[in-house]
Amino acid sequence: MTAPAAPPPSLRWTPLSHLLLATGVLLLVLGVALRAAVPIFVALPLVIAPVAAALSGPRRALPARLTWEAYGAEAEVTIRGKVQGSPGGDLRDVVVEFARPRDLVESAPPTVVRDDGTLRFELHWRAPYPTIAVVEPPEIAWLDPVGVVLRSVVGRGERLTVERYPPELLRLGAVRLDRVLALPGETRSRRVGAAGEFFGIQEAAPTDPPRRINWRATARRGRLLVNEFELDRTGDVLLLIDVRPTRLGADTDEVLLGAARAAAVGIASSFAREKARIGYASFGEFIDAVPLASGRGHRFRVHEAIRTTRPSAVAGPSERCAATLPRFFPPGVTTILISSLTGDADSDLVVHLRRRGFPTIVLSPSPAQLLATERPLAPADERLAERLERLARRQRLARVWNHAPVVDWEDFWSLGGFVRLLRGPGRRRSS
């Protein structure tokens, strides 16, 4: 068992203080060696300044409260927040240092403004690809005006999660999923809505369509009343991410997995809103699974499992995935497999899943645009390489299409094709 990491000290010296002290000591040695007083007098302010700053500043950690939130859509990520000190507290010398996640890039320098007792900041970042990024709370500290002493500020605030995935996934919840329960009618949703079993009557709202109005009840009461229905739970879905290493290399695999994670979170969120049961699994060397369930706690569990999914160093055989999956999920559950289909055995996974009774839909993030930025080729050669790559990929996807529908995810900010495939009647036929 490892010991917990020691907390950072409340008071720290900055590199500038070390620089001043080093120069001061050097001058002091020079003065003694040359038997000259002038270097000693020049050294004096330099060696005294850090201690004087520490003694004249606040003598204990300052209390402060951080509140922040992420805004923006698609690739744009704007984070606005504020640090509030104690009443009457002075935050003019408080500095904040932000730790930007790897998935996000800075599009403009941060803006920091200090008002009375409040420090407001705005960060301008950009997500080149769909991502689920966790932003750690910034390091907040008091820095003396000269810049030689740092003192911690108490109350760092919560982590911030930035979720960026294609907006079409928000419409995915309307898809009717198959159920794999033995007696599906016995499990009802707690949600009341516009279709399903009759639940009751309530006052009509301006947004209610005419077909929901209960005309008999309206005639009896003399005011518009509408029917309410107890919604059936929509069904079950399994999200499976293939995290096995591919021939593209670790960096490209990481980017593709980032997009896959973002899509999985978007799909899970949409179905969770409709009270569907959601299961999640990632397959690298072995399977990591979160069994089918619904509810807010389960939604959080699935999100955490997706967020913490990392690329595997070792590739397990496809048969192992298909053989292990029935231990966690009943065969017949609608399975959305997210795989780049660039590994040699990736297409086998679909075949094995079908054989074990998992109707599969494949969402395949395309590495085309990532590879295009990596190749140092002349424009003509680049066009040729791109065309060959496209043909090879089309052939690979066509092989998989023989066993399951495949969506080639080329434009990372659009999943319209995937949503259309799931909503269309063709999905049932092909599965």
Binding site: P9, V42, L46, I48
Partner: protein, 177 residues
């Protein structure tokens, strides 16, 4: 509802220019009392002050402390060449003090840094004043150097102890403990 966008205010630059001029002036005075020829001494002082002034807005993040290196280098060169004289000692100390004041006026931070740093700068100025007065009223040159050196060795040991154990200055354990 989204939070309102954050718009920064531009601080005035007149005071920064004044501080830079003050630093350059004291460094120039120190150069005139140093053992270097006048033109060379002024050139060293100007190069140090100008180099730091140019570097400070250009170095960001972890590299920003290194903007002070040209000024420190210039002060060290002038100090090494300076003869033992009360004026050179005074101007050398004051030049280092104005360097600290100039550092306190960072344009990337809240305006009024010098005013907020006044307590620590006054403490440094007081120490410098006591040391200079003590040295001035001692009878011989070598005794003066010995007295100042002993004083500063003690101070340096104290600073080294404090740098190694910052909790000695702390009155309260960190809240994250």
């Amino acid at each position: 509802m989204s939070a309102p966008p954050v718009r920064p205010r531009r601080p005035g630059r007149a005071f920064s220019v004044l501080l830079l001029a003050l630093f350059a002036g004291t460094a120039g005075l120190f150069a005139t009392t140093s053992g270097l020829p006048l033109i060379e001494g002024l050139a060293v002082a100007l190069a140090g002050v100008g180099g730091s002034a140019v570097l400070r807005p250009r170095l960001d993040g972890a590299r920003s402390p290194y903007a002070v290196v040209p000024a420190l280098g210039a002060l060290a060169v002038l100090a090494a060449a300076a003869p033992n004289s009360p004026l050179a000692e005074l101007f050398g100390g004051v030049a280092a003090l104005t360097l600290l004041a100039w550092l306190a006026d960072d344009p990337r931070r809240s305006p009024g840094g010098v005013v907020r740093a006044a307590p620590s700068l006054l403490l440094v100025a007081l120490t410098l004043g006591i040391a200079w007065m003590s040295a001035l009223f001692l009878p011989t040159g070598s005794a003066r150097v010995g007295f100042g050196a002993a004083l500063l060795v003690l101070v340096t040991i104290l600073v080294a102890i404090l740098l190694g154990r910052p909790e000695l200055i702390d009155r309260e354990p960190p809240a994250t403990a």
